[in-house]
Each structure stands twice: as C-alpha cells, then as structure tokens.
Point group: C2
Chain length 467, copies 2
C-alpha cells in the first residue's frame, strides 16, 4: 500500500459510527504529535489518528495487522524516555479526543475514564465529588491517563498512595492482535488467573492500547502540613525517615540538595525556609488531623535536632505556607531548565540511597569537575532525579557527548546497587540500550515471549522497550 | 523412566549441596501432601519432595522438563479450589523446609522470606520488630507465603491494606522452563518493562515456583476499635459504608446474616452484641487514635440511626471487647463446619452486593426451600462467602448433587453481575469449569499463550486453572 492509500484507509476507518474520529497529516501536526519531552528524535510520522471510540481503535489495529503498519500510542507526550516518539513513518494514535469521564460510582468510589483524560481533569473531578485522586506530578496538567498507566507513573505521593498501578480497578484494552479485553471488571477481589491488567500497566503501549480505565478514588486528605528540614548529612535522610515513619503516615518525603534550592531561590518567587544553610533538605508532608499528630510531629522534630541529624527546620502554619514550601521542591525543574540539563531518573532500595548517590557524585565530579550536579527526588521511595547542568562555556554537542559517558557510569552503579535504570518514565528508546542493567537476559527473553503473544506482528510501538 | 527411577533421581537431585532436601514416599505422607482443604479428590502423588534451596527447586524443574514429570507446588494446603491437589501421580514440591526469614531491613521495612514461611510467622516477626504485616485470614496459622501469593490471598483487612499482591517488593521464582528470575529487586519504583512479579502472583503455580518473596511491612495500627451494627436491610450496608468512609479510614468492613450469628451464639463462647434483633450485621474496625476520631465515629453512628439504616449497635471499649466482637464474625466457619456446608467464594463490585446477594438467595430458596443459607464476608470489598448447610435428613450425595446445580445458578448470576467466580481462593480444579463466567474466551486464549511462554512443556501444576 502507498502512503496515500494508507491515509485514505485510516480516514475511512475512523469515519465509521456515530462519532467519527479524525486523521491529521498537516506537517505542524505531524511535528507536534511525533515527539515527547525528550525532543532528541526528529519526528516523522506518516499520519496522526484521533479516534473517538474503542471500536475505531480496534479497527485501526486490525488494519495495521493486515498491512503491517506500525502504530505509536500517544498521550500527553510528557515522557522523558522517547516512548511516544514516531520517527520512522509510523501512524500515531493520539487519545486527545477520547477524553471523557464515562461513569462515576460514589459508593464504589470509582470513576471510568477514557484514556485521553488529563491527570488534572481526573483530580478535579474527584475533588468536585468530595474525593481524591492521589497520583500527582509536575506534568499533571497535560499528561493523560493512558500514558500514566502505560508508564505506571509515580510522582510525589508514592510513599503513602503508591503508583498509578495501585489505583486501577479495571482496564479496557485493544491488544496488538486486535482483541478488545475488559480486564478485572473493576473488582476489588478477583483471583481468576493471570492478572493481565498488571501486564498492560507499564507496557508503554507495546502490547496494545489502553482505551479506558476505571480508577479508584479515596477520601480527601485533611490538613496537609509540610515540614522542611535542613540535614547535616545524606545518611540523616534515612534516620529522619525511619523516626517519622514509626509514628506518622507520611504523605510525601522528598529531598533536594543545597545547589538545587539555590536555583529555585535565584529564580525568585519563593523564600529560603530558614537562615541556617544545610547541604541537603528534606520535605515531609502529613495529615495533621489532631493536636496529637502535631504534638508527635514536633516531638519527632526535636528528637531529630537532638540527635544532630537536623540543623534547622520549619513547619507550615497555613495552606499557603505549605504551598510555598512545596515550591522549594517543585520549582527545581523549571529553575534549571534554561541550563540545558542532562536528566536521569533512577531508583534503588530506599536504604541504599545515600551510598548510591555519593558514588555517582564522586565519579562525575572526578572526571568532570566543572559539571554542576543537581540532586532532588522522591527519596521516600528511592527515586532520585539526577540533573547535570551544562557549563555555560561548553558547546551542547560536547556536553551531550560527555553525558553519554556519564550515562554508562550511572547505569553501572545502578546495576551494582541492584537499582532501576528507569524509576518512572519507562524504557522507550532512551533507556532501551541499558535495559539489561536492571533486567537479566533471561527476564528479557520472557518479555519478548509475552510481546509475541499479544503483538505477534510487531505493529505496536516498535523499537520501544524491546528490539 | 519407571517410578522407581524417578524417585531415585529426585533423591539424588535434592541431596546435592550443603543443605540436602528430602523425598517422601510413605503412603501417609502421600495422603497428607496430596490434597488441600477441598478434600474431594483422592490424593495420589508419586512422591513428595521437600527442597531446601532455590537451586534444588531449579534442578527439579529441569529434571521434570527432561522427563516430562508433572510437578505440583504445595504450601499450607489451606486452599478451597483444589489448586494444590496431586491426584494423578504427580511429584509434589512442598516448601515446609524452606521456611526461613532470610533478611530484614528496618529502614526499608522489608523482610525477605522463603516461600514456606507461615503467614503467622511473618505477622509475629513483624510485631517483634515493632512493625505490621496486615494480610490476615482464618488460616494464618498454617497457610504459607508462597501459597498466599500464588492465590493473591486477601482476607479481612483488604479494605484498608489491599491484597497480598500489594505487599510484595520482590520475588525470586523458578520458571516452568527452569530459569531463576529475581523480579523487581525489591524496588519501590521500577518502570523497566512488563512487571513479571504481578504475573506470578495469583498464577497458582502454573508458571513456575515462587521460592522467595520480599514483603513490605508497615507501622502497627493504634487502638483498633470495633463497631458492630444491626442493619435494617441489606442495602443499608452500602449507606453505612459510604457514610463512614467519608470520614474514617476503616481497617475492616465485614458483614454477616442473622442466621450466621445464630450459629456462632449456639456454639457458645461468645455473647450477642445487643438485644435488638436485625436481619444483617456489619462489623467496622478503625484506628481510634484520638478523641476526634471517636467523636466522629459516634456522630456517624447516630447519623446512621437517625436515617433508619441501623437498629442498634455497640462499640468496643477495650481490646478484649474488640476481640470478642470479632469472634462474632470469625467464629462463623467453625460453628457451621459440622453441618457439611457447601462453600462458595465470589465477588462483585461493592455497590452491587445487595442485589447480587438477593438474587442468589431467591433462586436457591425457590428451588430448595429446605436449604439453610448462611451469608458472611468482606462486604467492604465485594467478597461474599456463600455457605449452604445440608439439611440433617438429606444424604451427602443428594446434597452435593443439588449443590452442583446451585453452582450453575450462582455462576450465571456472577456472570450477569460481572463478578468473579473466585474472589480469593483461585481457580484450581474446582472453579476451572466456570472460568469463562469471569474471563472471556479471548482473555483465556491469552492466558494460554502466557502459560506457553513460561512452561512450554506443561510440567507446572497441570490441570489447574487451564486445561
């Protein structure tokens, strides 16, 4: 089939039914829909399809199988692993027009969403119904549910609420073979064979399309209170975590380095939390539902000071102050963006974070003393965001060349610490060459076997995750 | 190979290494290890192997592949679906002697266990370390972790703490092909391809053996308080649940019928919670960590009385009283055991429980008015335990024959309500003929495809879950 014939067929396929979909072939649209936030691959899709129904998605998949057309699923395209990039004449299937909240059950506290529902849209819907969708991250305003689930997105509340995976009651998927499956029927308890729902979550669209998801909601948190602590030493992050977790259910435990905070402060808009300087800072959040909880928190804080783990600290007295303190952590990415940062998203078991971070810091500093390293992340779940700023005088090409070398060091350390080369952005194309640093060869062979079962013709997001 | 040759080979295989395993062929052992709590299949294994290490398990699997020997994994054998039955000359691989807690990390709050660790052993270990393993059920004193995970066991705290699945940080498995895989490396965040951990959980040993699991622990609950309410009507269970969940984090929400409580009371040992008779009772549990929480609970209780949902109620004033109130629910199974009950473990979406239960009650009563139906279960997660008592005068054969017919009605209603034919005991052999009432034909085809990837020679627990 020629490209023109394929496009004509796509148009015909999505025109069927009461709610026709759309096909885009305008160069600006191809450019937009062909890339994610990595921006390192030149986008070059053949066309962009915007289906309206699961039936249209199924028709697309069947057509793609018949004519060996590669399909690339596309959500909010906020990923950092090039999992949603179409650089080889693929057909992008974007879910922007499948963005309806289909059903809501207040008793079950579940909401059925089409895959294109924006994270924030779901959060707001929950709030309007006196409920709470707790998965939250910087890209909540544009990331789509289908994409979140396909990378099992985590974010800033994992320590209390878990990953996206933990909020899925049911999924509707179209497999790579073109079957529509209703997975788990939204049940809380169901032990009837392999749970295919968990296979599609985190599969980065390589097994098929998620077209609908029934998400669980929970009660809204009460009186969220934020504590920012200046820490003497990286190992103190663990001491403080252990002490607080014994008494309180933390809703977040984040950390950032002095350097990271420096950039946020220089960026304006937010004040230093206290005068004392510290090499590292921890941000804790919890529900201060009673005076007892506040007393416990203050007692723990004093205990941490006495032990010498904590140099200084501040606790929010209002919602506004809590939001401002959060800005110290959430403003980091934006404040360093102009410096063309190298970014890496890695994880280890929580207790191994201090040694792991130090080894990476040491190897980078030894070889490239002019690189500025910015650390922050979700230390409560072992997930670190490593950012390295390009020295002003260095050319981009030279910098990224050196960062390729940094990658190798980092991933070797990840492997030695039995960590993950991708904590929350998936493998895509960016991490694919390093997959074996986290998954064994035998494991990868089973991944290939599973791929073969669901997508025997290899039409689903080819070149991502596995070769 | 002759049976004698197989047994001799097994003995040789597990004799290797510093910690030799054992092979049992004594008829009494074959009888014991060849069945689970279903007791409907005559046990007839060829031998029972008790390995001591993952390496020995791997050697067994390789041998089984080379000589087409069927292996049946065996834990505490407390299942009710005949998932751990060896009735066809299989070799049972029992984990009784792999019952060590291998490692504990207080900072990460994780504990690495061999598959044969008893549920209660893990609960006690957690408690000794000021932590909590929250998955709990009646068979905790004999069920093993490997079995719990292979059926994704739930129990009485699911509403707050989830299923066994939710507490697994990592798994060591031996696949049906004989590969040893370390799944997820105990990481909190790890998005590097399909999560095989979740495939082995709930697989009932049909894909391979779980030999070790790293389990997460959490902080101990404080001041657990129990509320027992007499309900006017089944639909009131939903009204009460909704009202309480808005304010409190319930740790349990159980229910039982007036008939069920009658048997517990007749059994002695426990008193009626209050004088008022009600057709249904709900048991709620929560952490009364502050006066505020207690005030909220009392206010909610009064609200439910005013609305006419609740006829009477009692709240525990001490740990002893809380334990006694729990006995009203937990004593049911034992109190009806002498009556040869037909048992079924089914689930639907929580909000559909009242209609679902009523339909089953109606169809059974219409056809068999002399059957006494006993309802109880984890209504907070949609999981009902249906028990039917044999009329004293009826022969066992006639009763079980009629129950076969009941099965069909029940599962047809399950299908119509989009529920599960097995909420927490797995499919095994008992539910295998009814799998298609919950999983579509297309889904089952994918289950078969996955089975083929991990166990191409079909040596792992053949005849269970799938044919």
């Amino acid at each position: 089939m020629t490209s023109e014939q394929i496009i004509a067929s796509l148009e015909e396929l999505v025109a069927a039914g009461d709610t026709p979909g759309k096909v885009l072939t305008d160069p600006a649209d191809l450019e937009t829909y062909g890339k994610d936030w990595t921006k390192i691959h030149a986008p070059r899709p053949l066309a962009v399809v915007l289906p309206k129904t699961t039936e249209q998605v199924q028709a697309l998949v069947r057509f793609a199988n018949d004519h060996q057309v590669a399909l690339v699923p596309s959500g909010g395209r906020t990923g950092l692993s090039a999992g949603a990039v179409a650089a080889n004449g693929e057909v992008v299937v974007a879910f922007d027009n499948m963005n309806r909240i289909v059903d809501f059950n207040a008793s079950d506290r579940t909401v059925r969403c089409q895959a294109g529902v924006i994270t924030e849209q779901l959060q707001n819907f929950a709030e309007e119904n006196d409920l709470y969708y707790p998965v939250d991250f910087a890209s909540a305003g544009s990331s789509q549910l289908g994409g979140n689930l396909s990378t099992n997105a985590g974010g800033i509340k994992v320590i209390r609420y878990g990953m996206s995976r933990d909020w899925v009651a049911g999924l509707k998927v179209v497999t790579g073979k073109g079957d529509v499956l209703d997975l788990n029927k939204d049940l809380a308890k169901n032990n009837t064979g392999y749970d295919l729902r968990h296979l599609f979550i985190g599969a980065e669209g390589t097994l098929g399309f998620i077209t609908e998801a029934t998400m669980k909601l929970t009660r809204q948190p009460d009186d969220l209170t934020v504590l920012v602590l200046g820490l003497n030493d990286l190992t103190n992050t663990m001491d403080v975590l252990k002490a607080f977790q014994k008494k309180l259910d933390l809703t977040a435990y984040e950390f950032f380095s002095h350097q990271a905070m420096g950039h946020v402060l220089a960026h304006g808009q937010v004040q230093a939390p206290f005068d004392t300087e510290a090499p590292y800072y921890a941000l804790l959040e919890f529900e201060a539902v009673s005076d007892q909880v506040m007393d416990d928190a203050m007692e723990l804080f004093e205990h941490c000071m006495e032990e010498g783990w904590v140099l200084d600290g501040v606790i929010s007295q209002s919602e506004t102050q809590a939001r401002n303190l959060w800005q110290l952590r959430e403003g980091i990415s934006e404040s360093i963006a102009p410096r063309t940062p190298y970014k890496n998203d890695i994880s280890v078991v929580v207790s191994r974070v201090p040694g792991f971070l130090q080894e990476i810091e040491d190897v980078v500093t030894r070889h490239y003393p002019d690189f500025e390293i910015i650390w922050f992340g979700h230390i409560g779940d072992g997930n670190l965001h490593l950012n390295i700023l390009k020295p002003e005088a260095m050319e981009k090409e030279e910098f990224f060349g050196k960062c390729e070398q940094v990658n190798k060091w980092v991933f070797e350390i990840v492997q030695r610490y039995e960590g993950s080369v991708s904590a929350e952005h998936g493998v895509g194309m960016t991490k694919k060459p390093y997959l074996q640093y986290t998954r064994s060869e035998a494991e990868i062979a089973y991944l290939r076997g599973i791929k073969q079962v669901f997508d025997p013709n290899g039409i689903m997001n080819p070149g991502k995750l596995l070769d």
